[in-house]
């Protein structure tokens, strides 16, 4: 047998084939990760349960309403621009001057931090059936922004860092100190008012 080598397969086209496949995946891929505003819905109320125990004190609740014309009201005051809502909410939750009409604060023992003054403020969001989704999300966004800024303030004071830069455990503590209490309570028709 003569040492006859098998002829090498011409592999110069492998690159072309691979490129073709690559292009296909490049075109079909959607790198977009899912983003959005995360919320927890309240569980359905037990029909046998009495209403009174879930009632919070009047001063601890701010009612944010969006009517059918996408106009915003916060605690019966009209808000001309959605961007102004954030400061209103921040003032409501933090209650810097310990105002009587703004939410009370409760000293709460938080593990790893100590005693923190936790605001008992609850934001109740109400909307009309014909409110546009866009306006609703804009308001939700503004509420989250207000809470996020308060969390940033808190962590700046505590650790000198922004909330996002803290470790997982520290974030947990900040979340406890500045809770995000947004209630999307039972749907109500706010147009008839």
């Amino acid at each position: 047998m003569a040492s006859k080598k098998t002829p090498e397969i011409n592999s110069s086209s492998t690159a072309d084939i691979a490129f073709l496949l690559l292009c296909y995946f490049l075109m079909t891929t959607t790198m977009g990760s899912q983003t959005g505003l995360q919320r927890r819905l309240p569980p359905m109320p037990d029909p046998n349960q009495k209403q009174e125990d879930q009632k919070a004190k009047r001063r601890n609740i701010i009612i944010v309403k969006i009517n059918s014309a996408d106009r915003i009201f916060a605690g019966n005051e009209p808000i001309s621009d959605v961007k102004l809502l954030k400061d209103k909410i921040k003032e409501f939750i933090s209650n810097p001057a310990d105002n009587e009409s703004l939410p009370e604060k409760q000293d709460t023992e938080i593990e790893g931090y100590g005693v923190a003054k936790v605001s008992k403020g609850v934001i109740s969001l109400q909307n009309d059936r014909s409110t546009s989704y866009q306006a609703y999300i804009a308001v939700q966004n503004e509420l989250v922004k207000a809470v996020n800024e308060l969390r940033d303030d808190f962590s700046m004071q505590w650790r000198g860092k922004k909330y996002a830069k803290l470790t997982e455990e520290e974030q947990e503590i900040v979340r406890k100190a500045v809770p995000q209490n947004i209630s999307e309570a039972e749907p109500k028709d706010v147009s008839k008012k």
């Binding site: 492998t14 496949l21 891929t29 959005g36 927890r40 819905l41 989704y133 749907p187």
Partner: protein, 155 residues
């Protein structure tokens, strides 16, 4: 200068392209792994509202999607332009959400079920009425972890 001997006719040697397929294959594998095919056809057109405080959905495999919007153009003759709910591949009503959630739960591993997130992908033009109905139905099915899908504002 022995390097430039006039007798030696040595031109530039061709660049070896034998590793080119390997490089391309590597890229190819990257895209194959990261890609995910859209498994359902969009029957409603959804333009997500923009929000600046968005967070990423951590576990995409634990998410179920509820699309709300007006039907895409070629279906408008059949279904009209009113906002509709799309679950999986077809138009559904609010009452079908219960079965949909149950089916999605069933498909998950036992331990993952409490972590299930329902992503509400609603068009920005949609009225809140239909979204409220969906939310109430989700509460009734105790699928309480929800997410309002939104995109980053373009600025």
């Amino acid at each position: 200068m022995s390097k430039f001997k006039p007798g030696e006719k040595k031109g530039m040697s061709a660049i070896s392209t034998s590793s080119l397929p390997d490089i391309v294959f590597m890229l190819l594998f990257f895209f194959m792994v990261t890609t995910q095919m859209r498994e359902t056809e969009n029957k409603v057109s959804v333009t997500l509202p923009s929000a600046s405080e968005i967070v990423k959905l951590e576990r995409k495999d634990l998410a179920s999607y509820i699309n709300i919007g007006s039907p895409v153009r070629h279906l408008q003759a059949q279904y009209g332009t009113d906002a509709r709910i799309q679950l999986n591949d077809s138009f559904k009503t609010v009452d079908d959400i219960r079965d949909f959630i149950a089916a999605e739960r069933e498909a998950m591993k036992e331990g993952d079920r409490p972590l299930m997130t329902v992503s509400i992908r609603a068009d920005e033009q949609v009225r809140m009425g239909i979204v409220t109905d969906v939310k109430q139905e989700l509460r009734r099915c105790s699928a309480l972890k929800i997410m309002y899908a939104a995109r980053k504002p373009a600025d």
